[in-house]
């Protein structure tokens, strides 16, 4: 009994100590780093990114930024920041040490000069080396080259499809390899406007769906019994418009910042505008919204910007809590970075997100800074493992995943990766063990199938013998029973 007590005390102490060290290990960040465990509940985790520094306009010697609302990492290694309040685009070198160029006015080929008015999005195409600027309050998308000469502009399309009553306030702009331009417009819920390379309006692309809430289903049912006039007068159900998007290869990823909507918050659209994520039941942002008692409101994630890294990882920026959620290309959560705070690494109003190499860049429209996050050692290992895993190199990813577990033994993604690797290499029992730890029923099933087959193959003779014995035993007992019954009835007949 005494021994048991001693053991219990030691165990309790070690748990407390471990907990303490776990906290102090991540104490560099101005927030508690967390991730989700296999039950979908938040638990402390290791930081995948750590805030390196925050850069303001003074650091770059271009004067203070005023609401920098978008940032783009271009093919030439420079960053293009839309300095919305100062009506300019600032190009910064890759190290963020100095400004390379400040664009505040552009000249057309006919000598006409033009300035920007509250630009809120910028995109630089690697194919034709042109800069696309969403010039919001001038209601146009300005296309310029990198030396400051305007090449063309896209204004409000004059067609029936667009509608004459709608405004044209571009928020974000991207261009694909073929030179088609996609524009996210403020207050437009029918998707992004799509323009051909010569500026012709081609229609809308990738509208969100209406979330099927109880109210909307009820409206639909009551709509069946309504007259045409009544139906025309009631409020319409429109989906939330796209907030931001990014292009990677042939796919366009969109995000929607709505704290109430949960469908279509993040989409991966193919060239036809079909959402590839539609069938998956992925949750982007925090799993369950937090209730803030001091403000009496529910803090649900609102994803305001999305960025696809070179290795395919999806970075989502959550405005509500000031967090970056990083997912791999299969939408498995990798890291949660950032918070709302005044320190470096915290945001007041996160606006845009860009990734380049092993760093993340986030602009803040209230702090007027760009915060730079650098991948930690842990982040590096996880990225290496997940890239190998998603590329199909499961066995090569095994060692990196084991390394990940040394950093963080509760990192669920690692257990999944190890289970997949063990399954691939035919170590079924190990695969089953790790699949169980990762809550991965499908992998467990595959591993179990292999394990069962192996078991039967190795023990075929004993199993066969046991089966024969069982058959004989059953037949024997049945026979005895039958004889007994027959004897009993014979006795009865005799008595009668």
């Amino acid at each position: 009994m005494k021994k048991f007590f001693k053991k219990a005390v030691t165990a309790a102490l070690s748990v407390i100590l471990c907990g303490y060290t776990a906290i102090s290990a991540s104490a560099k960040e101005p927030y508690d780093v967390y991730n989700y465990d296999r039950w979908g509940e938040p638990i402390p985790s290791q930081a995948g990114y750590t805030a390196e520094r925050a850069v303001s306009g003074y650091d770059l010697e271009v004067g203070e930024f005023n609401m920098p609302s978008d940032i783009f990492c271009a093919f030439d290694g420079n960053f293009y920041i839309t300095d919305t309040g100062n009506n300019r685009i600032v190009a910064v070198d890759g190290e963020f040490s100095k400004a390379v160029e400040v664009y505040d006015k552009f000249t057309f080929s006919d000598g006409r000069e033009t300035t920007l008015k509250k630009p809120s999005g910028v995109f630089v195409s690697a194919e034709n080396q042109l800069m696309y600027i969403a010039d919001t309050e001038n209601s146009r998308v300005l296309i310029t080259n990198l030396t400051g000469n305007a090449v063309g502009e896209i204004t409000k399309p004059d067609t029936e499809i667009y509608g004459s009553q709608r405004t044209f306030n571009p928020q974000r702009v991207i261009a694909d390899k073929a030179g088609n331009v996609y524009v996210v417009l403020n207050n437009i819920t029918t998707g992004a406007a799509m323009f051909s390379p010569n500026g012709e309006f081609m229609g809308f692309y990738g509208a969100n769906r209406v979330q099927p809430t109880a109210e909307i289903i009820g409206d639909y049912v009551s709509g069946i019994f309504m007259s045409e006039e009544k139906r025309a007068r009631r409020t319409r159900n429109v989906p939330t418009g796209i907030t931001s998007f990014d292009i990677e290869g042939d796919f366009i990823y969109t995000c929607t910042s709505s704290s109430t909507q949960t469908t279509d918050t993040v989409k991966k659209l193919n060239a036809a505008g079909k959402n590839i994520f539609a069938g998956n039941e992925n949750i982007f942002g925090d799993y369950s919204p937090m209730y803030d008692t001091s403000q009496n409101r529910v803090l649900a994630s609102a994803i305001v910007d999305i960025d696809i890294a070179e290795d395919g990882n999806i970075n989502c920026l959550d405005l509500t809590m000031g967090r970056i959620f990083q997912y791999d290309e299969d939408c498995n959560l990798l890291f949660i970075v950032g918070t709302n705070a005044s320190q470096v690494g915290g945001f007041r109003q996160a606006a845009a997100l860009e990734s380049c190499g092993d760093r993340l860049y986030v602009t803040d429209t209230m702090k007027n800074t760009v915060t730079i996050f650098k991948e930690t050692d842990f982040g590096e290992v996880v990225h290496k493992a997940s890239t190998l895993h998603n590329g199909g190199y499961y066995e090569e990813a095994l060692n990196p995943w084991l390394e990940v577990l040394k950093y963080d033994g509760t990192y669920r993604r690692a257990y999944l990766g190890i289970a997949a690797a063990k399954l691939r290499s035919g170590e079924y029992e190990e695969a089953m063990k790790y699949a169980k730890l990762a809550d991965a029923g499908k992998i467990y099933d595959k591993a179990f199938e292999g394990y069962r087959l192996e078991f039967i193959r190795n023990n075929f003779e004993p199993i066969l013998l046991a089966l024969i014995f069982a058959a004989i035993a059953i037949a024997g007992t049945l026979k005895i029973r039958k004889d007994k019954k027959a004897a009993l009835s014979a006795e009865k007949n005799k008595e009668e």
Binding site: Y444, D445, F448
Partner: protein, 209 residues
């Protein structure tokens, strides 16, 4: 004829869906002890099917274990069924006593309980592609219990088929009403408890200051 031990009576009742319970009634047999044992097995089977099921078929939420839902799913539901059926059928000229309703209903649960155990056991040997076997066993077990339950209510009260259906629907309604009242009662007790707690806190603050 039919000189059977209590256990043999259980087997007879569940293997003769049409006449089994009639025979039991005629012979005035049936053991309350066995009935309670079956309900207890239902309770165990519920837990087994939830927690011991093959991981490849079903991933349970195993962070915590709360026994209350299992108690509700077995004892409380069965008790509500018995009391509800007795209450309804006393008004509908049923001949069954509470004891008999309890025994007959419990006996008819045997296929369902067996199905839970068998599928839980087999799920450790079958893969997902073969889960159709588990489904078939589950459907047969549940269906059999439904038929037996119908037959049990019919013979315990000596009803016609139509009246049995009617009685079963009313019994389910009675169960819902009972559970509703139970929740209401619990809620009210909670409210009263909170009231006295606040009163106590308030007074203790006054006394202290």
């Amino acid at each position: 004829m039919y000189e059977l031990t209590p256990v043999q009576w259980v087997i007879h009742a569940i293997t003769h869906p049409v006449e089994g319970f009639e025979d039991m009634r005629w012979k005035k047999s049936g053991s309350l002890k066995i009935a309670f044992f079956i309900v207890f097995m239902l309770f165990l089977a519920g837990i087994a099917a939830e927690r011991l099921y093959g991981f490849n078929h079903y991933v349970p939420y195993d962070k915590i274990f709360n026994i209350v839902p299992y108690i509700v799913k077995s004892f409380v539901i069965f008790g509500a069924w018995t009391v509800g059926n007795w209450a309804v059928c006393t008004l509908l000229d049923g001949e069954g006593t509470m004891k008999n309703i309890c025994i007959y209903s419990a006996y008819s649960l045997v296929p369902y309980v067996a199905q839970l155990f068998i599928t839980t056991f087999l799920s450790h040997f079958l893969i997902r592609d073969e889960s159709v076997f588990l489904n078939i066993i589950a459907i047969i077990g549940t269906g059999w219990t439904a038929v037996l339950l119908f037959s049990a209510i019919r013979s315990v009260h000596q009803y016609s088929a139509v009246k049995t259906v009617f009685a079963i629907i009313l019994t389910i309604a009675a169960m819902l009403i009972m559970l509703f009242l139970l929740i209401l009662l619990l809620f009210l007790i909670q409210q009263v408890a909170i009231f006295f707690m606040t009163l106590f806190t308030e007074i203790s603050y006054r006394v202290k200051s």
